[in-house]
């Protein structure tokens, strides 16, 4: 039970941190290109940094900083790979030679630099997250700080919208506010309600108590996870639809018609466009 609560707290705290950074990454990158910073990339960088730091502190490794730096560089390279050569395998680094031989435009490099910067930021945030205390006050402090960052983000968006022509694209920052809130509340509640006391249910009330506890757990985790992944599930469905249309070849219109047959009256699928997400 205690281990489960600890795991839930780590996940909720991690999601809390990722939500804020992903919202800012989404906003800043949406201003530069149509490509989006994916949830997988963000989670990978953040979890990688956290796991490496945890591993280093667990094994008392002396070369912690170089290892973390190497990890950050690897994460940045993976981001570049996702941007410029997503179809090539990452492990043989052939794509890197090609990239150096045929460098893309300066604008593309700027976008790549921004993506890499966010990967490194998320990696560092993961490292710091692993070293941070999970005490109640600390979690509350992080929740407050995150909220202030979200307020700042909304303020920046408000300012940008005042300038005609500057704000053209839709980012996914807004969609991360609700999951941030849900995960924040879960993290605070778990941090607050941990206890080493002996628990039991009152006589004759075990069933009701278990049901309420289970329902609350499922509701909180379900709502948080759904809200967290909803924008990215939407992206994934778009990509899948494009892939389906591309690979089906001449049968593409038929398959699209079949899909539309099932979904007609409920929603209208957009026409396939060029790839929009990174990695």
């Amino acid at each position: 039970m205690k281990r489960g609560a600890d795991v839930a707290l780590v996940l909720a705290r991690g999601a809390l941190e990722v939500c804020v950074m992903l919202a800012w990454a989404s906003l800043t990158l949406a201003m530069m290109s149509e490509r989006r910073y994916t949830l997988g990339l963000a989670l990978g960088a953040f979890a990688g940094g956290a796991a490496l730091t945890r591993f280093c502190s667990g094994h008392r490794l002396r070369w912690r900083s170089p290892l973390q730096a190497a990890g950050a560089v690897l994460g940045a390279l993976y981001t570049v790979h996702g941007l410029f050569a997503p179809t090539e395998p990452f492990s043989n680094f052939f794509w890197l030679n090609e990239l150096i031989r045929l460098p893309p435009s300066a604008a593309s490099w700027r976008v790549a630099a921004a993506f890499c910067a966010w990967s490194v930021v998320l990696w560092i945030a993961g490292c710091r997250f692993a070293a941070r205390s999970d005490a109640y006050r600390e979690v509350c402090g992080r929740f407050d700080r995150g909220l202030l960052w979200l307020f700042a983000l909304l303020f920046v968006k408000l300012l940008l919208r005042q300038e005609p022509g500057v704000w053209q694209t839709q980012d996914r920052a807004d969609a991360l506010i609700l999951p941030y809130f849900v995960f924040g509340l879960i993290a605070i509640a778990v941090a607050r309600n941990r206890s080493d006391g002996r628990r039991s249910f009152m006589r004759g009330r075990r069933g009701a108590g278990l049901f309420v506890a289970f329902a609350a757990l499922v509701l909180a985790c379900g709502v948080g996870s759904t809200l967290f992944s909803l924008p990215f599930l939407h992206d994934a469905s778009e990509v899948s639809y494009e892939q389906l249309a591309a690979f089906a070849g001449p049968f593409g219109p038929v398959i699209v018609e079949i899909v539309l047959f099932f979904l007609r009256g409920r929603m209208v699928l957009p026409l396939p466009t060029s790839g929009r997400s990174c990695a």
């Binding site: 407050d144 909304l154 408000l158 309600n193 006391g197 628990r199 009330r205 009701a208």
Partner: protein, 389 residues
Amino acid sequence: MPRPREAGYPSIFTLPPVLGCVALGLFFALLTAQTTLALLCLLLIALAGTAKAWSHLSLARITSELRLSPRRLFPGESLSLAMDIENGKLLPVWLQVSVPLPASLRTRSGAPAARDGGLSSYQALRFDWRITALARGVHEIGPAQLSAADPLGFFPNQKLAAASEVIVYPRLIALHPLALPRRDLFGKPGVRSPIEDPTYLNGVRDYQPGRPARHIHWKASARHARLLEKMCETTESERVLIVLCAEGFDGPQNADALERCLEVVASLAVQLDHQRHPVGLVTNGRLKGGGANALGMSRTHGQLSQLLETLARFEPVVERDVIEMLSGAALLSATVSVVSASHSLAATPLLFEYLRQRRVPTVKLVSQCQERELTAGQVVRLNDLRGAP
């Protein structure tokens, strides 16, 4: 691992000024049609409002019970302190328990006895502590302070729960043998001795057929117009009355002397009880929490623990006149020896004079005395009685 208690507000978004700013932000967002900003502000205000309302209900149907085991112990021993809390409602709550401990009791880790945790619907929670008694006395544990709040712990409400008391007896120490002044004429005291000492008349009763005629109290029989017989004490009842005087022990400078005196008195009482002497206690000091200042001499079950409890409750404040107590309770019968424990001979001169007049054999245990006083007979310095630790 117990966590320390936290002070101050948990989140800045629970503070009224900040919530006021959020409300302003909501107003601004609604004016400018900023949906996301309005949603965030609304969420924060709703969170604060819900947490506040939840906290308001959090203490309802919360029951608690403080359990101590054992309630009586000696210094250095440990007791188990448990706080049982039940949440008899559907609403889960966060709860913090803080049990104030006196300086004479402390947890094994030395940390305050404070814990917290969540209680879901109809759940019971038990917090345990191991408490070590450091000094003699009657120590009040609690009243425990219960803080309950919403599961986020944003707006705690407090209430006081039950209190309980622990009795810490004086420490028992090894003593050198103390020679009691005995005046028995009919042999060594023994168990259920059939031999009665005719010199120690206890009273009269109706004559029992079969008893020797020499036991008939003729004068009393003539006076009451029926046969009455004398009741004499048996030679086994070498009874000891300990008289503990509070005079001179007051003030913090005498606190150590008092504790040493009580240790000797308690150890002596236990020693005498083991030697099958009926032991009693009379004290003119104040007893914390109340209790009997005079315990008659007996060897009944519970006599020793009652005597030790009286010593545990003892406070060096003179409440009564010890001579009045002795004469009023008629404790000084013929076979009683008195062991007095006092600060010094000068502290209770009237008592010694009273005992001398009543020809009661007395051993005077004193905390402080001069060398010439030791030769005055039956005066023993408390420190001289203490054996090797």
